[in-house]
C-alpha cells in the first residue's frame, strides 16, 4: 500500500540524526568550512553517537525486523545531517563508501574481516577509489592495473578526488586485471592503509565541502594478499564492473538525500531571512514574488525527497533501481543548485549576517552535487539507457 508516512523506527532514525546535526554540526559548520579542518572532538562525538547506544540499538532492531530497510534508514539520516553540514557528514567515522562494495561483493569471511574492526570503539574510516585523473564518469576506461603475482595482487595507478582518502583504514580500489577486457576487466580490491607502495598524494582545496577531505592516492607496485580481491560473486565476468555500478545504485540515493538536506537548509534559511531580515521598503509585489518562488521551491524539495525515498525503498527491496537512483540524484542535484543560488540572490540586499554566510556556504557546497557520483549528464544518460534498453545510446 502506498504510504508516505515514516514508521516509528524510521522516524526515530531521522529525529536522532536531526539532533546530531543541530547539536554537533551547525555550531562548528562555518568555522570548519573556513579552516578546512574538523576538530577531533567532533570525530569522537560522532563515533560515540553512531557506533554505540541508541544508534547501535536502532541498527540491531533494523536487522531483526522483517523487512530490510538499511537504505531507507540511511537516506533519512543523510538528509538530516546534510541539513546540519554535508562536509562534516562525510567525515563521520565508519566504513563509509567502502561498505556497499564489501557488502555486495565480499564473501561472508571478507565482510567479517574488513568490516569487523569498525565495531571496536576506535576512530576508523573507509573510502572508495574509483575516479582517476584521466577518467570520471567513464569508469570502464580505467587505467589502474592489478596483476596477480604468486599469492599477491600488484596494483599500479593513480586515483584522485577520494573522500576520506588520507584517513581511511582501508580503501576499496577499483582496478583492471586486463585492459583488453574493457569494463569486464574491472575488479574491486581492498587496500589497507600502510601497505608499502600505497601513498597519499595531495589534499585538494575545494570551492565547497571544504571540511571534507578529498585526497589523491598513488599505487606504486602496491602488493596486497590475493584474498583482498572482493570475490563473493565472481561467477559473472562482469562482477567487478557491476560492483562499481551497483555501488552507485546504492550511493546515488544517498547523495540525493544529502542534496535534499542542503536544499532544505537553504530553503528554510531563505524563508526565515525574508520574514526577519528583508529590508524595509521592499514593495508588496516584490515580496509576494519572492514568496511564490519559495513556495514553488518548497514543492520541488518535496518531490526531490520522494524520488530519493523511492529509490532507497527499491534498493531495500532489491528491486533494480538504476533509473530511479539516477532520477533522484539528477533531480536533487539540480534542485540544490537552484535553491541555494536563489537564497544567495534573494538575500543579496542584506547585511553580512550569519544567515547570509550560511547561504553562501551552502551555495558553494551545492555545486558538486551536480557532479560527483555521476554528473547531471551521466544521470540523464543512465535514465535514457534504461528507458531504451534496445537502443545503443553512446
Amino acid at each position: 500500500m502506498i504510504d508516505f508516512t515514516l514508521s516509528e523506527l524510521q522516524q526515530a532514525a531521522r529525529d536522532y540524526a536531526h539532533q546530531v546535526a543541530l547539536e554537533e554540526m551547525r555550531p562548528i559548520s562555518l568555522e570548519c568550512d573556513r579552516t578546512e579542518k574538523i576538530p577531533d572532538s567532533f570525530m569522537w562525538n560522532m563515533q560515540r553517537r553512531f557506533w554505540a547506544g541508541a544508534a547501535g540499538q536502532a541498527r540491531t532492531q533494523a536487522q531483526e525486523g522483517e523487512e530490510k530497510q538499511d537504505n531507507i534508514l540511511s537516506i533519512l539520516s543523510q538528509e538530516e545531517m546534510a541539513w546540519g553540514d554535508a562536509a562534516l557528514s562525510t567525515a563521520i567515522p565508519g566504513p563509509g563508501l567502502a561498505a556497499p562494495p564489501i557488502l555486495s561483493q565480499g564473501t561472508p569471511e571478507q565482510q567479517a574481516k574488513f568490516l569487523g574492526p569498525y565495531m571496536d570503539g576506535q576512530l576508523h574510516w573507509g573510502a572508495l577509489a574509483l575516479t582517476e585523473p584521466g577518467i570520471g564518469s567513464d569508469v570502464a576506461g580505467m587505467s589502474t592495473t592489478a596483476v596477480l603475482e604468486g599469492d599477491e595482487w600488484v596494483l599500479n595507478g593513480h586515483k584522485h578526488y577520494i573522500t576520506n582518502g588520507a584517513r581511511s583504514d582501508l580503501v576499496v580500489t577499483f582496478a583492471t586485471i586486463d585492459k583488453s577486457l574493457g569494463r569486464e576487466g574491472i575488479r574491486p580490491f581492498v587496500v589497507p592503509r600502510g601497505t608499502p607502495g600505497f601513498v597519499v598524494g595531495r589534499i585538494e582545496e575545494k570551492m565547497g565541502l571544504r571540511a571534507s577531505q578529498t585526497a589523491e592516492l598513488i599505487f606504486e607496485n602496491c602488493r596486497i594478499p590475493k584474498d583482498h580481491l572482493l570475490s563473493g560473486r565472481e561467477s559473472s565476468k562482469k562482477a567487478g564492473f557491476k560492483a562499481a555500478m551497483g555501488t552507485l545504485d546504492a550511493t546515488r540515493p544517498m547523495v540525493g538525500a544529502l542534496a535534499v538536506g542542503i536544499a532544505r537548509a537553504a530553503h528554510e534559511k531563505t524563508c526565515q531571512w525574508v520574514q526577519e531580515e528583508l529590508p524595509k521598503g521592499f514593495s508588496v509585489y516584490k515580496r509576494r514574488e519572492i514568496e511564490l518562488e519559495l513556495d514553488e521551491m518548497g514543492q520541488e524539495l518535496e518531490m526531490a525527497r520522494f524520488l530519493v525515498w523511492r529509490a532507497a525503498w527499491m534498493a531495500d527491496r532489491r528491486i533494480p533501481n538504476s533509473k530511479e537512483a539516477s532520477m533522484c540524484k539528477a533531480y536533487a542535484g539540480g534542485l540544490v543548485m537552484k535553491v541555494t543560488s536563489a537564497g544567495v540572490r534573494i538575500s543579496a540586499p542584506g547585511e553580512n549576517s550569519e544567515s547570509r554566510q550560511f547561504l553562501q556556504k551552502w551555495f558553494r557546497d551545492a555545486k558538486v552535487f551536480d557532479i560527483f557520483e555521476g554528473t547531471a549528464q551521466i544521470q540523464r544518460l543512465v535514465i535514457a539507457r534504461r528507458l531504451f534498453p534496445e537502443v545503443d545510446i553512446p
Binding site: M1, I2, D3, Q10, E300, M303, A304, I383, F388
Partner: protein
C-alpha cells in the same frame, strides 16, 4: 511506513483502467474533440465497469471513493485522453461533492441516478471551482453568499465548469461573506434559472474541447437554503476541493505519460543520419528529463492522495492537493510541448495526437 507500491487490488483496478483507456478512450480522443463531448456509448461502457461510479453501495455505486485508487484510475484515463478524462472526472465531482459535503437525503437524491444501470451514463454533475480572478486554489475563491431570510444571496463568478451548462447536481464552491483562506467554504447547488444568474457556454476553446464547459456570473442571485450541501464551512467541502485537485493532478500525470510514451515510440523508430533519433543525446536527455519530472509529480500526487485517504487535516490536505495539481499540470504542459518537438514536423500535424494533448494540458489550469 514508507511504501511505493499500490496494493494488489489497486494494481488490478489500474490495469483494468489502462486497458479501457488504450482500447476505448484513446481511439476516441480525436472524434470526441470534434463532437465536443464524450460519446454516450463510451460513457456506458465505463459506467458498466463500475470505474465511474465510486459511490457507496447503498446508492448503487461500486464502492466508496478512495483517493489513491481513484488517482491511479484518473492517470490511466488521462493516459487515454486528457480531455475525456477531465470530462469524466468533472462530471463525477458533482455527486462526489454531494457525497462528501451533503446530508443523507441529498446524497440519496443526487447520487443514486448516477448508478442507474440503464440511464446512469447519461447523468452529468459539475463542480464550479476556479473563478475569473484565480486558479484552483481554495484561498482564491471569492464568490460569496450571505443569508437573507430563508435564502442565500450569491455573488461572484465561475469559469471552466465542466458540464456546467447541463449538470445536476450543479455544485459551486463559494464562501460565507467575510471569511477567507480555508474558513467558511461552502458547496452550494445552484439552479441556473434564477434571477441574477448568467450562464455562458464556453466556445472556441484552446483545449479540453471534449469536456464541454461553461462560465457563470452571479449578481445578487437568490438561492434557497435547501441548496446548501451539509453545513456551511464543513470539512467535507474542503475534502471535495482537495479531491478535485488530486484527481486533476492524476489526469495531468496521465497526459504527461501519454506524451512521453508517444514521443518514446517515435524517437525509437525515426531514423536520422542512419540512427534512431533517440540515440542522440539531444533527444535522449529530453526524454530522460520528461520521465524524471513526471515521476516527481506523480509522487507528489500520490502523497496528497494518501493524505486524503488517511484523513489528514484539511489545511494540509488542501495545500498538498494544490501543489500536486500545479506540479502535475506543469509537467503535462512541458512534456506535451517536448513531445511535439521530438516528433518534429509530424508533431504539428493533426494526424498525431501530440498537438491535441498540448492544447489539453494548457487548458487544465
Amino acid at each position: 511506513m514508507l511504501n511505493f507500491a499500490p496494493t494488489q487490488e489497486q494494481e488490478e483496478i489500474r490495469q483494468l483502467a489502462q486497458s479501457l483507456a488504450m482500447e476505448q478512450v484513446r481511439p476516441q480522443g480525436r472524434s470526441a474533440e470534434q463532437q465536443g463531448d464524450i460519446s454516450p456509448a463510451l460513457m456506458k461502457t465505463l459506467t458498466q465497469t463500475g470505474l465511474t461510479t465510486p459511490f457507496p453501495e447503498e446508492y448503487g455505486g461500486s464502492g466508496v471513493v478512495e483517493a489513491v485508487t481513484y488517482t491511479l484510475i484518473a492517470e490511466e484515463l488521462g493516459f487515454g485522453d486528457g480531455a475525456l478524462a477531465m470530462n469524466i472526472i468533472g462530471s463525477l465531482m458533482g455527486p462526489l461533492t454531494v457525497l462528501l459535503a451533503g446530508d443523507k437525503s441529498q446524497q440519496q437524491h443526487y447520487i443514486t441516478p448516477f448508478s442507474d444501470a440503464s440511464r446512469g451514463h447519461l447523468q452529468r454533475g459539475s463542480l464550479g471551482f476556479a473563478e475569473r480572478t484565480g486558479g484552483y486554489y481554495v484561498t482564491e475563491i471569492s464568490a460569496t453568499i450571505r443569508t437573507e431570510g430563508e435564502q442565500y444571496i450569491l455573488n461572484g463568478s465561475k469559469r471552466d465548469v465542466i458540464h456546467g451548462g447541463q449538470s445536476s447536481p450543479r455544485v459551486v464552491l463559494v464562501r460565507l461573506e467575510g471569511t477567507s483562506g480555508t474558513g467558511g467554504l461552502c458547496a452550494l447547488m445552484v439552479p441556473l434559472d434564477i434571477a441574477g444568474a448568467r450562464v455562458s457556454l464556453d466556445e472556441g476553446k484552446l483545449g479540453l474541447i471534449a469536456a464541454p464547459s461553461a462560465a457563470y456570473t452571479f449578481e445578487n442571485a437568490p438561492v434557497s437554503a435547501t441548496c446548501m450541501l451539509g453545513q456551511p464551512g464543513g470539512s467535507g467541502v474542503l475534502r471535495a476541493a482537495a479531491l478535485y485537485n488530486i484527481l486533476r493532478a492524476g489526469v495531468a500525470c496521465g497526459t504527461a505519460r501519454a506524451a512521453l510514451d508517444y514521443a518514446m515510440d517515435y524517437a525509437r523508430g525515426r531514423i536520422a543520419f542512419g540512427r534512431p533519433i533517440v540515440s542522440y543525446q539531444g533527444i535522449a536527455f529530453m526524454v530522460a528529463e520528461m520521465a524524471m519530472k513526471l515521476d516527481a509529480a506523480r509522487l507528489l500526487t500520490w502523497r496528497a492522495a494518501t493524505s486524503w485517504d488517511r484523513g489528514t487535516g484539511c489545511e494540509t490536505l488542501v495545500q498538498e492537493g494544490e501543489a500536486a495539481q500545479y506540479q502535475a499540470i506543469k509537467i503535462a504542459k512541458s512534456a506535451t510541448i517536448d513531445a511535439i518537438q521530438i516528433l518534429g514536423g509530424a508533431g504539428f500535424i493533426q494526424d498525431h495526437p501530440a498537438e491535441m494533448w498540448m492544447r489539453n494540458a494548457a487548458a487544465m489550469e
